[in-house]
Symmetry: C2
Subunit: 197 residues, 2 copies
């Protein structure tokens, strides 16, 4: 998605450790026009795919999911990362290791909001090693939902999580795939062709 | 807002301790049509008010803020509750006590995304004692921003935080004000008339 890639080049900030900061437009301050373009692009990438609900994970994923949901005309469910007195006790849970935060956390979705046989699109802002996506897939398996696909805004292709998920037959669409970071510059690539469907 | 109140009566769940659970349509599973109606209603409540940016707080606030932002045509900034390696070191911070979670947490906004003189609308899902809203107001004061107003989806009027904020001259608009909970039923009310502008 050229609009996104151009914005990443213009306003993205590469930090040591291959961190790509996009918090001026995606995950701290949010450009709503860009977010709408992202939502429309997901709709076009998943045209013809049956989707009953969008699943994401708090916090940054929520913005993307709700804007995209307008184009799919479906509800959103977001997995919670923090325990709350207000969350149902009856939840599907999965443990996710975050390299960014350097710790494992538990994601939870109330069993009421994932019904057997529903077709679910997962969306999130980043995919690197794919731990969060795999946690969400685990939860969909527990709920006996069908995974319609995964929509990612920025995939760090060099961390291989995306291709691993493609290799198990999942339709994973990333709007920008970062192939490498070369001297502080973002180099974009494509999903491994051998693993594309 | 009748659509919201009717939905709260139909699908809201009152729990011991005056907890109103709306996670089937607002803060775990999200009904996008209702969220759009909420966004439009905020636009109408703040018609003619100068707003350059919407500020909210993760996680549930994000969904409301980004949908509303489409009607205001402004960017969103959300305060973060968790420390992250990726967040700038240079942040405005405020401590907020959460009665729901029973603990104090620190909210942070990068200084880059709040500029002196900007007109800011705060939005959030709930307001009870008003601690989160006051934390956000603190941050706007530090940033020398102007508070254009506060838009709340559900105010627990009996917990008085809303009227305290109105009494300091803030334009606070809540789309549903719960006056009391009577034998498990939600009773709606209005903001204290003496304190309305």
């Amino acid at each position: 998605m050229e609009l996104l890639k151009n914005r990443m080049i213009k306003d993205g900030d590469v930090k040591p450790g291959n961190v790509i900061k996009v918090d001026s437009f995606l995950n701290h301050q949010i450009d709503i026009d860009l977010l709408n373009a992202i939502g429309k692009e997901f709709k076009s990438r998943f045209e013809g795919v049956r989707i009953d609900k969008i699943l994401t994970i708090e916090a940054s994923g929520i913005a993307i999911a709700v804007i995209a949901a307008q184009y799919f005309n479906v509800p959103v469910v977001f997995a919670k990362k923090t325990e709350s007195k207000n969350l149902d006790k009856d939840t599907y849970e999965s443990d996710v290791y975050s390299y960014t935060k350097g710790k494992t956390y538990t994601i939870r979705v109330s069993k009421k909001y994932l019904n057997e046989g529903e077709n679910i699109l997962i969306v999130d802002d980043f995919l690197a090693k794919g731990k969060a996506a795999r946690g969400l897939i685990d939860i969909l398996d527990m709920a006996k939902c069908n995974l319609s696909g995964i929509g990612i805004v920025i995939e760090k292709g060099f961390q291989k999580g995306g291709d691993e998920i493609r290799s198990i037959g999942v339709k994973l669409e990333s709007l920008a795939i970062v192939e490498s970071i070369d001297d502080g510059n973002i180099v974009f690539g494509e999903a491994s062709p051998s693993r594309r469907d």
